[in-house]
Symmetry: D2
Subunit: 117 residues, 4 copies
DNA sequence: TTTT
DNA sequence: TTTT
């Protein structure tokens, strides 16, 4: 199945409020970013943290949960798949972007423990 | 641990031979692409396949296994983490790229079943 | 979502032909075992392999794919969830068993590369 | 690699304080249970929850983090591998148990967010 | 035996 | 742009 071929799991925090749109036909899309922090110790033994930002896209029920219960700083666990998109920029150069399409969301903040999609 | 925060799993085929470099100090790096195919059925019930290409980077022991045993068309299972890099292109525009840094490789072609890293 | 709370991924070989039953109502169930091999090097540097056997249960479409395309020795990738069952044995002692309920199957043998569920 | 062949991921709560032992040689082992809750809606549309209990074993650094920072009710994300053990019970019958050997732990309670192993 |  |  597809989840065995292409699967991403992240646990991190939303960088900002999601950008939510209602499409013609009523489907909801939510775009947002998640930061994951990698903890490691450098050569001198000092604890270091390195942040990676991930661009996320959620559709339908997942988007609605994100819209209602998640915002800037919310901690989430997410399972999704990698996708690529491209477009032509103002210089006529092709630009590529990698996004994660959300399959499942789990809100990890205490007040939202019962919410998932 | 970091593998719980940022983890990608792919099962797919290499698009071409890996580009392998030996760094000063002897460390090996291998760059390559993997295609994953998503199978789905369209509105008319016809079976469709959609390919996503993933840019991969392997270091050290993983790079050496890739160099020795994998080539164009090799089927692989991979676990890694998402990372982003940027650079300035010829127009002075910042370009972004998402890559997967390989943590584990498993060669799925019969002749290589015993090889992994 | 539930796949974020309880998820198992295995890549291994079937130990025997699956035991397949058709339930009243037409639903198919398949019971089978998968062996995973852990490769490691012992204190003397000798390559060792340790096998773990996993009890699997597949339902519906997944069971039908297993029944049609998989048999003794077939290599599979599987995603599923852990479950426990208990029953009373002939001594009246409660027995416990852990099984993996299959969510997704991917057949890794060349002749079956196009089959999944 | 072995993490690709046999991997479990759980997000759940510890049922009780861990049982921690120091082995001769100084290695630490921690045994504990984690409950995962599956949420679903029954035929009548009522929200139902089903609990699965998982037996966990952590060694070394992972065991020490569990001992210091986790207790009854602590929410954890865990990555590990499935293993089986057997012993002979008082009736001379062989008993089998499936356990998850912890590779990575992430504490999800707010006060412990910086702790992982 | 957990949690919401 | 997050969090500890």
């Amino acid at each position: 199945m597809n989840a065995l071929r292409n699967s991403v799991r992240l646990i991190g925090h939303m960088g900002d409020a999601p950008k939510v749109k209602k499409l013609d036909g009523g489907k909801t899309v939510a775009n947002f970013s998640i930061a994951t922090n990698e903890i490691y110790h450098d050569a001198s033994g000092t604890r270091q943290s390195e942040t990676t930002w991930h661009k996320m896209v959620a559709w339908g029920k997942q988007a609605e949960v994100i819209e209602k219960y998640a915002g800037k700083g919310t901690e989430l666990a997410i399972e999704g798949k990698l996708t690529n998109r491209s477009w032509d920029d103002k210089n006529g150069e092709k630009q590529y972007i990698t996004e994660i399409v959300v399959n499942s969301v789990l809100l990890l903040d205490k007040k939202n423990q019962a919410v998932e999609a």
